[in-house]
Amino acid sequence: MEGKIIYFDHAATTPLKKEVLDEMMPYLTEQYGNPSTIYKLGREAKKAVELARERVAKALNADIQEIYFTSGGTESDNWALKGVAFANKDKGKHIITTTIEHHAVLHPLKYLEGLGFEVTYVPVEPNGIVDPQKIKEAIRNDTILISVMLANNEIGTIQPVKEIAKIAKEKGIIIHTDAVQAVGQIPVDVKDLGVDLLSLSAHKFYGPKGVGALYIRKGTKIHPFSHGGAQERNRRAGTENVAGIVGLGKAIELATQNLSEYAAKLQKLRDKLIDGVLSKIDYVRLNGDRNQRLPNNANFSFEFIEGESLLLMLDMKGIAASSGSACTSGSLDPSHVLLAIGLEHEVAHGSLRITLGEDNTEEDIDYLLEVLPEIVSRLREMSPLYES
C-alpha cells in the first residue's frame, strides 16, 4: 500500500472527473472570451454557460431560468438566506432551521440575528432526523423562511424536506434546502420536493471547486447577494467562471445519469464497512439513522479516543478520512451535529467520518477494516479515559 492513497473523504471534496476536465479545457485555453461580450469569442463562452445551465436545470427538473451560478455552496446558502430575509423583512423577521445545518447556513443566520432577525433552531431526533411536526410547531405568524438541509454532511442523514416543504407552502412560507451533500448521491427533483430555493456545489459531485448554483423558483422574493454587472439576468453579478460553470454542468449531467448504479455500488461498500466496524471494534456507535442516510456515508464514534489523532494515524497508513465536518476541522470545538444528536463531548470528539466515492473498492474497505482496529486500540491504550 506504499504511496497509494485511499481516499475516504468524498463529502469534503471529490476528484475532478476526467470527462469533466476535458470539457473545461477549451475554456481554460483558446475559448477565453467574456460571456458578456458580443463578438464570436464572447458568444461561444455565453453558449457554453447556457448549455451548463440547461444541464443543471434538467438534472434538478427545474426551468432553465431558475438556475443561477454562484461561487459554491456557501455563497448559494448565504444568498438564499440573506436574500430572502432582506427581501421579506416587511412581512416578518422569523426564520426556522435545524440544529444540524452546515455552518454555511448557521453562520449567516447568526449574522441575521445580529441584524434583528429571530431564528428558531429545531432540534433533531437521536437518529439525526428532524421531525416535521416540530418544524410545524415552530411556525409563527411572522415566519418568512424555513431552511432544512436535504442530507447532512457529517452523519449523512436524509431529511424529510418534501413533508416540510408541504407544511411551508400551506402557510405561504418560503422554503430553502441545502442540497450540497445530496446532489449526486440521491435523486433531487425540485418540483417533487416542492422547495423554493436549493443550494448545490460542484466539487461535491466530481466537479471543480469554487462553483455552485442556486435554484430559485420563479416568483420567489429574494434580493441579489452580489450586486454589479448584468450577469445571470441581473441577479448575480461578476464575470462568469466559465470553465468552472462548464465543469459543473458536465459533472451534474454525469452524476445524475448513473445515479442508481453508483448509489447501489456505494451502499454495498458502506454496509460492508458499517457491519465490519461494528463487529470488530467495541465501544463504538454508528451516528445517524442506519437506513435513511446517504449511500456513501458512515460515521462512527469510538469512545475514549480523539478524532484528530485517529485521522493522523489513518493518514500514516495512506487513508484520508475526516472527523466531523471537513469545513470545521481546524476548529477545536466538537461537531455541533454530533452534540445535537445527543453525544457527550468526549464521545463527539472521537468520531470518524468515512464517505465513499466511485474510486473506492472492496479492497479499500478490507484494508480499512484491517488497520482501524489496531489504531483504535493503540490510541485507547494511550488514553487516560480507557480502562482495559
Binding site: 480523539e306 494515524m313 477545536l332 468526549e346 463527539a348 491504550e381 494511550m382
Partner: protein, 127 residues
C-alpha cells in the same frame, strides 16, 4: 501543518503508560476541547527519575506529552518547574498557532504532578 518532530513524537510517543505507586500524579484537561492529559512522576532525592503519561487528545497533545515527559526526566524538581510550554513547543520544532494551547496543557500537567508530589511530601512531614 505539524513538523516532522511532532509527527515522530505522535507516532512513536515516548513514556506512554502509568507508573505504579507514582510519587506525583495529576490529570489536567479541558473537556470542551476534548483533551485530557495524565502525568505520572517517580521522584527520588528531588530528581525526577521517571515520567509517564496517558493522553486523550489531538496529535499535538500526544506529541507534547511525549516531549514534556522526556524533558523532565533526570531534572530536579526546580529545573522541571522552569520548563515552559514554549520550550516544549520549540523542542518539537514548533506547533501550529491553533495548537499552542496543547503545549500549555503539557506544562500544566507536569506542574500539577510536581505539586501533587510536594503536597504529599508535606502531609507526610506533618504526620
Amino acid at each position: 501543518m505539524y513538523s516532522e518532530k511532532v509527527l515522530d513524537h505522535f507516532m512513536n510517543p515516548r513514556n506512554v503508560g502509568e507508573i505504579e505507586n507514582a510519587d506525583g500524579v495529576a490529570q489536567v484537561g479541558n473537556p470542551k476541547c476534548g483533551d485530557i492529559m495524565k502525568v505520572y512522576l517517580k521522584i527520588e532525592n528531588g530528581i525526577i527519575v521517571d515520567a509517564k503519561f496517558k493522553t486523550f487528545g489531538c496529535g499535538a497533545a500526544v506529541a507534547t506529552s511525549s516531549m514534556a515527559t522526556e524533558m523532565v526526566k533526570g531534572k530536579t524538581i526546580e529545573e522541571a518547574l522552569q520548563i515552559t510550554n514554549k520550550a516544549v513547543a520549540e523542542a518539537l520544532d514548533g506547533l501550529p498557532a491553533n495548537k499552542l494551547h496543547c503545549s500549555v496543557l503539557a506544562e500544566e500537567a507536569i506542574k500539577a504532578a510536581i505539586e501533587d508530589y510536594l503536597s504529599k511530601q508535606k502531609s507526610k512531614n506533618t504526620n
